[in-house]
């Protein structure tokens, strides 16, 4: 993985046709209005590792993830998951949306939310068996939420809600995990629990991609970074792509130089 600073007119896919990469994006452009939110982005996620998508507010981090998952329609571009089109590989993908994207007053219990992760197994009318409930309980166990399974989801704290979303993703039994700001607004205990689960997934050979906002923890948590500010700024291993230079390029004047130096040199 070489460091690549994207050129003005967008990067052409040098390594065409590669890829059994868990997530391979080429020339992706997404627009909500007149201005594109994501412009001509290429991304190649490394299998079995953890990648952080980083960039300033409004840089298109979530949009990139949502377009990769087919939640928002792209204007142009291709997405391949494990070397095949997304629609053939949905069973291998798990997704954790931003916690604030749903109404937590929805009348349902914790265990019911986790069971939603089993939908692809259950289908429209498939009978829920004891084994399904066991999977759901095991997943709640892994995020430390076992005793909350009968609670109404609105009665949970923000961190607990985030863990329930992670448990639902675990229930999907996927190979590629895509998370949108999993650490946003959670307590320290939850952050520890989540990162430990994600590292376990990596140890099992799974691939993790997370939109991340806390620059201070990038080095501790992730193997690779993907810097974006509408266009791709840099992509590669943390040591090579997460530098003062790339951060300055992504954030511009929004980060003080001293801050950048400190983050980039903290090993």
């Amino acid at each position: 993985m070489q460091l690549s600073l994207a050129s003005q007119n967008g990067q052409s896919a040098a390594e065409a046709g590669l890829s059994s990469s868990p997530l391979c994006i080429r020339g992706l452009t997404v627009s909500y209005g007149e201005k594109p939110a994501v412009f001509s982005v290429d991304m190649t996620v490394v299998a079995g590792q953890m990648t952080a998508i980083i960039g300033p507010n409004g840089a298109g981090k979530s949009t990139l993830l949502k377009a990769a998952l087919g939640i928002v329609p792209p204007l142009s571009g291709r997405v391949q998951v494990f070397g095949r089109p997304l629609d053939h590989q949905r069973a291998r993908i798990a997704y954790v949306p931003q916690r604030a994207s749903v109404d937590w007053d929805f009348p349902t219990r914790v265990i019911d939310v986790v069971m939603m992760g089993l939908y692809r197994d259950l289908g429209l009318l498939g009978r829920i068996r004891g084994s399904h409930r066991q999977i759901a309980r095991d997943c709640l166990d892994r995020v430390g939420m076992h005793e909350f399974s009968e609670r109404q989801i609105g009665q949970l704290s923000g961190g607990q809600q985030q863990r329930v979303f992670l448990a639902r993703a675990l229930a999907q039994g996927a190979d590629l995990y895509l998370l949108d700001e999993p650490f946003a607004g959670v307590d320290a205990a939850t952050e520890k629990a989540i990162i430990s689960v994600l590292k376990d997934l990596r140890a099992e050979g799974k691939t993790v991609v997370a939109v991340h906002h806390d620059l201070a923890t990038v080095r501790d948590y992730f193997d690779n970074v993907f810097l974006i500010n509408t266009r791709k700024v840099a992509e590669g291993p943390v040591d090579e792509a997460f530098t003062a230079e790339t951060l300055q390029a992504a954030y511009g004047g929004r980060l003080a130089t001293a801050q950048v130096d400190q983050i980039a040199t903290t090993a």
Binding site: L69, I71, Y95, V102, D103, D105, F106, P107, L125
Partner: protein, 308 residues
Amino acid sequence: MASEFVTLSLTPLLIGIFAAVACALPGNFLLLRKQALIGDAISHVALPGIVVAFLLTGAISTWPMMLGAAGAAIVAVVMIEGIRRLGRIEPGAAMGVVFTTLFAAGVLLLEQSDTSSVHLDVEHALYGNLESLIWLDGTGWDSLLDPQALAYLPVELPRMAATLVVVAAFIALFWRPLKIATFDEGFARTLGMRTEWLGLALVLMAALAAVAAFDAVGSIIVIAMFICPPAAARMMTNRLEVQVGWSVVFASVSAIVGYVLAGYGPMWVGMADAVSAAGMIATVSGVILAISALWGPCRRRAGAPSGV
């Protein structure tokens, strides 16, 4: 007494219950999706649809009018979506604009056209005429086994029953996608669900229920039943499965108690005439909502932002 009940009250009661439940079922999801007003919109735009159908065919006959109402409902749904997207207006406001405008247009059309000879007026559109849906051939309980008497059941009864079956079957079959997509649309899409088609199907089911119920009982019941029983049910439980159950109970109770109160209530307080059954049914559903809002066990978590 029994024969009088079968002749005069059995069919209106059943039609009222079927209409109430058929509207309350999709109402649960519409409420959670913050689209509860769509029932209001659909039932109002049914009026211009019916008037146009009448003007085209020149007669009060059921199928053209149902088609006219259904066509108007679809036009309204498309208009609401269009205004919401092009005007970047919130959905509630878009619905409000569309249904008031189309209903007003319906009133104007009705005034201008010569409908004085037929039973088609604004009052009928609002309140329906549940009390008139009597079963003259039903002379007692044994009439329920008499094919000849059954042949003369008011046509609204089998039609409303069929509507209820279709709506209930849709909700049952698509229960899981509806639940997942209503709670977390983005996640539903990553599962490969076509959430926009699912949402459209839900609105079409609501339109079907609204148009069929509108024909039988008027738009007041439709509006009330889309919102009141589900909203009251939400405050009784924190589980969607149980909420839908409560909403069916509340809708049925509203229909029965409302019908009985409308027919006999005024006599009990010494007044001579019965009052509108549709109005009373809607009122009872509102009272149930008020009671559950005051004493329901789950009202604190009842989602004030997601309610009405």
